[in-house]
């Protein structure tokens, strides 16, 4: 790193421009939707597309042949996400309907979309208030952000063949990427194909439920809209009542697909290429499955036997269904709701708050601290206890049979600590800021708002519950949450280093 004395921001921005131009193609989907529904908001999307593409192409001119190095990777990734958010907010502003027409709200909604958070500032979520195209764009931003904009770009742009690995490393959730194939572009394509495959499968299955009459509400529009947000662990829904708007059969179908979204997508590739037991053998997957099962059972018990709050003591099926749905949804950072869990009894809500700190697997689309980190932390803490009894013992920490580097373990400890520091600071700042304008909000509401945005989960409790929204927060709090969603999706460091002096100088 000593070779470069400053960040090559021209090359970085030029690359961001290229990516932005590529991203403008995504506006084609809402344009098609608009045409299908008689041209509502058509002009707004065409303008957004042209502006985004034009801006991207202009930025590209800064450096006709950008060669970004290791240092620029952070810059490129962080700014790509920031610009994607800003331009993704254009349609909301231009359409001019409802609360999201205000710029700060539009940016919040757009960041919540790309980072697959699913927190909303839309006061009325319905296709009556907003156009079909706007609602579909909201869903699409989550799908693009799920596997990652950069991963998609690496898969498509041959220009990123060399530096692509560094960029993907900075974007992909979890410590380190595993190159599956010698060409990074092929690895990126593998990941996107697996992602696309599951998305299409889910849409088809959802629509089948409609055809067979199990779910009359699940129109083709709704099937596509939810297909686009389940696999990226997004959580947006064009229905105001989220998944509570659908029948139990639909809710049951969501559970496995939400669960899949939190599994390392790399494992599918290993399974397809011959290693059939790759999934079952993976320690992180077992831990994820075990945690989900355990907390679902506890949740079922609480919901079934708890009589205060909206219990489900009349039906074990509904208690089990809502527990499974909500645990998986909150644990891997999806944020759908099959029922308004704001009405749940205290212990059940505490359980949900607990699983919000777990996260999905590495290499999945889920956010949060993630299973692998928790596994490493548990194992290294166990070692600490052991070496306090046997001070001379030399004990490497193993994962999936191979030894973990001590530096990697330290990195994981640092990340987790930083995550918690940000979480607590977030509570404090939100508390001060809401008190400033006299917005009356409960303690648990603030706590859950901090983790729900940092962990890319979406809904929290109370005022930020699954059927509520974030619109009442002051603009400054919304900006903080935008920053938190950004930090959370890129796993803190790529964004945080940009805020340090050492990154820009020497």
């Amino acid at each position: 790193m000593g070779r470069r004395l400053y960040v090559d921001w021209r090359a970085g921005l030029a690359l961001v421009g290229t990516l932005l131009a590529l991203l403008s193609i995504a506006f084609v989907l809402p344009i098609l939707v608009s045409l299908w529904y008689g041209g509502e908001d058509l002009l707004e999307f065409v303008v957004s597309m042209v502006v985004t593409a034009a801006f991207g192409l202009v930025l590209r001119e800064l450096d006709p042949n950008p060669k970004p190095g290791a240092r620029e990777a952070f810059f490129v990734v962080a700014f790509t996400w920031l610009f994607a958010t800003l331009f993704g907010a254009l349609p909301y502003i231009l359409a001019g309907t409802g609360s999201i027409a205000q710029p700060i709200n539009a940016i919040f909604e757009s960041m919540s979309g790309f980072t697959t958070t699913g927190a909303t500032v839309m006061e009325t979520i319905s296709v009556e208030e907003h156009s079909h195209a706007i609602m579909m764009w909201r869903q699409l931003t989550q799908w693009l952000g799920g596997m990652g904009i950069i991963v998609l770009a690496v898969a498509i742009l041959s220009q990123l063949a060399v530096g692509g690995a560094q960029l993907m490393e900075a974007e992909t959730p979890g410590p380190g990427i595993s190159k599956l194939t010698p060409h990074i572009a092929e690895t990126a394509r593998v990941l996107w194909f697996a992602y696309l495959g599951f998305t299409v499968l889910f849409i088809v299955l959802l629509y089948c439920l409609q055809i067979t009459g199990y779910a009359t509400e699940m129109t083709l529009y709704n099937a596509i809209a939810h297909g686009l947000t389940a696999l990226p662990t997004g959580g947006f829904s064009p229905e105001g009542a989220s998944i509570a708007a659908f029948s139990p059969v639909v809710q049951w179908l969501f559970v496995p697909f939400m669960f899949i979204a939190g599994i390392n997508f790399v494992l599918w590739w290993h399974m397809i290429s011959g290693d059939r037991w790759a999934l079952v053998r993976d320690t992180e997957f077992r831990f994820y499955l075990g945690a989900a099962t355990l907390f679902t059972l506890i949740g079922t018990g609480i919901l079934f036997f708890e009589t205060t709050g909206a219990g489900f003591s009349d039906s074990i099926e509904s208690a089990f269904r809502h527990a499974a749905f909500q645990i998986v949804s909150m644990m891997n950072s999806t944020g759908y709701a099959s029922t308004d869990f704001n009405n749940w009894a205290g212990p059940a809500q505490a359980l949900l708050l607990f699983v919000m700190f777990l996260g999905g697997s590495t290499g999945s689309t889920g956010g949060g601290i993630k299973m692998l980190r928790w596994l490493v932390i548990l194992k290294s803490l166990r070692r600490e206890v052991f070496t306090s009894i046997h001070p001379e013992a030399v004990r490497p920490v193993r994962m999936n049979g191979s030894v973990l580097d001590e530096d990697a373990i330290r990195g994981i400890h640092a990340f987790t600590l930083l995550y918690f520091v940000l979480f607590f600071v977030g509570i404090l700042l939100l508390a001060v800021d809401t008190a400033r304008i006299g917005y009356n909000i409960g303690t648990i509401d603030l706590v859950s708002a901090s983790i729900a945005t940092l962990g890319n989960i979406g809904p929290g409790f109370g005022a930020v519950g699954p059927m509520e929204n974030y619109a009442s927060f002051p603009w400054s709090s919304k900006l903080l949450m935008v920053l938190y969603m950004w930090l959370g999706r890129l796993e803190i460091f790529p964004v945080l280093v940009l805020l340090t002096q050492a990154y820009w100088r020497s």
């Binding site: 013992a393 004990r395 490497p396």
Partner: protein, 444 residues
């Protein structure tokens, strides 16, 4: 037969001395003085030269040689010597190596490097240490057909589920063959009606999975926690010994003083508790209850240190001490002052190679019960008594004490049954009573 031994170190010298009576031995070494000295001390032809060069090998008579043994101190040289020998003539080659990874490469693809048989000194020493440690669950494990077939011998405890049942009752596994049962000094070739009793040692041959499955069922009653093994020194031999114990289900402890090496050992040995300390620190040894160990293996670099550690362990009250001794003149002395067993890596290697020279057609052999029987792997030729016939018919012509344990046909494992027909080119793993070994190896 003409045997060329390249490298006149301790191993080469010992082999030459063993073979001088029965074979025409040519020893090649680079050092002129050694060659000079050998000419007078042994009944062999000693040549000065570099064994990796074809000229030297021709001078040693490679065209007439039936066996080339490469045992210089350098692994790579030994491999190159074998390659050169193969290029120069039709000869069987044996290479001695120190690094286990080379052996693994070779085992993975037999005939790699032009080496027909590879002996890994550290591994062999480790296996020897394990064998003589004499612990109750001690099992003898050998691999055949590139790892496809495994032979295992283990003791049957009184609580074992197969004790007091017959072989056909115990045989619940698809690809497992019961070869023999050793009861005290008696060897019984296993048939379906043979009883298994507590205290027997059973030899089975089969796929690694079925053998492991069987072993798990047998060993389930065995309590490993009572077998405390402490290995002092993370030298290559110490490391391999720990690994050997691990592979047989033990959880040994390894004490290594050097920080980086301790970490390296700990990374490679998941079931070993590695401790970083000086093994002569008495306070540490008593704090970690090393005195309660059943066996202490001293595998440090340096005979004197091993003596010191062994004596210290003895003093603390350890039952059994094993020391690795490089200088064979010390061995007897060490055993006199109170060490139970002294193991000399070079002697062990020489013995293994010499043993191998006795059979030439077999590809791989393993001793069972100190030479009571052998398990051999052969490639079946056109004129073998086994070829093209059902096993039941073929074995009727063979003497008693022969069991076909497993067949490997183009990389696939076939479990032999009475009706299986053996084809030319098959690799067959056969259990043979030592008494009939010569008769058997003539006809198959």
């Amino acid at each position: 037969m003409r045997v060329i031994v390249v490298g006149a170190g301790r191993v080469g010298r010992s082999i030459a001395a063993n073979l001088e009576q029965t074979h025409e031995v040519v020893v090649v070494d680079r050092d002129g003085d050694t060659v000079e000295e050998l000419t007078y001390s042994l009944d062999v032809l000693a040549i000065q030269g570099d064994g990796t060069e074809i000229g030297t090998l021709q001078e040693a008579g490679i065209e007439q040689a039936g066996l080339v043994i490469a045992c210089t101190d350098n692994d790579e040289s030994n491999v190159v010597i074998c390659g050169a020998a193969k290029a120069a003539g039709e000869t069987f080659t044996i290479a001695r190596v120190r690094r286990r990874t080379l052996l693994e490469t070779w085992t993975g693809s037999q005939e790699a490097f032009g080496v027909d048989f590879m002996v890994c000194m550290d591994l062999l020493t480790a296996q020897t240490i394990f064998r003589i440690s004499g612990l109750p669950a001690a099992q003898d494990v050998k691999m055949f057909a590139g790892g496809l077939v495994r032979m295992v011998e283990f003791g049957i405890g009184p609580n074992s589920p197969v004790a007091n049942s017959t072989v056909s009752e115990a045989d619940q596994y698809d690809s497992l063959t019961f070869a023999a049962i050793f009861r005290d000094d008696e060897m019984i070739v296993a048939t379906g009606e043979t009883d298994i009793r507590a205290g027997d040692r059973v030899v089975v041959i089969g796929s690694p999975d079925s053998v492991t499955g069987f072993a798990d069922d047998i060993v389930c009653t065995h309590d490993n926690s009572t077998d405390e093994v402490v290995i002092v020194g993370g030298s290559e031999i110490g490391f391999q010994t720990a690994r050997e114990f691990e592979e047989h289900g033990f959880h040994p402890r390894l004490i290594e003083q050097e920080h980086d090496r301790a970490r390296e050992c700990a990374e490679k040995l998941p079931n070993t508790m590695v401790m970083e300390n000086d093994a002569t620190d008495a306070e540490f040894l008593s704090r970690e209850h090393v005195d309660e160990a059943d066996i202490v293996v001293a595998a440090l670099d340096g005979d004197e240190k091993n003596l010191l550690v062994s004596l210290l362990a003895r003093r603390l009250g350890v039952d059994r001490t094993v020391a690795v001794i490089e200088n064979h003149e010390y061995a007897e002395l060490f055993e006199t002052v109170g060490i139970d067993v002294a193991v000399n890596p070079r002697e062990v290697t020489a013995e293994e190679i010499v043993r191998f020279t006795r059979t030439d057609k077999t590809e791989k052999i393993a001793m069972v019960e100190r030479d009571r029987a052998e398990v051999i792997e052969i490639e079946v030729s056109e004129d073998s008594v086994l070829t093209g016939r059902q096993i039941a018919d073929a074995t009727a012509e063979l003497p008693d004490g022969v069991v076909i344990g497993a067949i490997s046909r183009s990389g696939e494992l076939i479990t032999p049954r009475g009706t299986t027909v053996i084809q030319p080119g098959d690799h067959v793993v056969v259990f043979v009573d030592a008494a009939v070994l010569d008769t058997v190896s003539r006809v198959i």
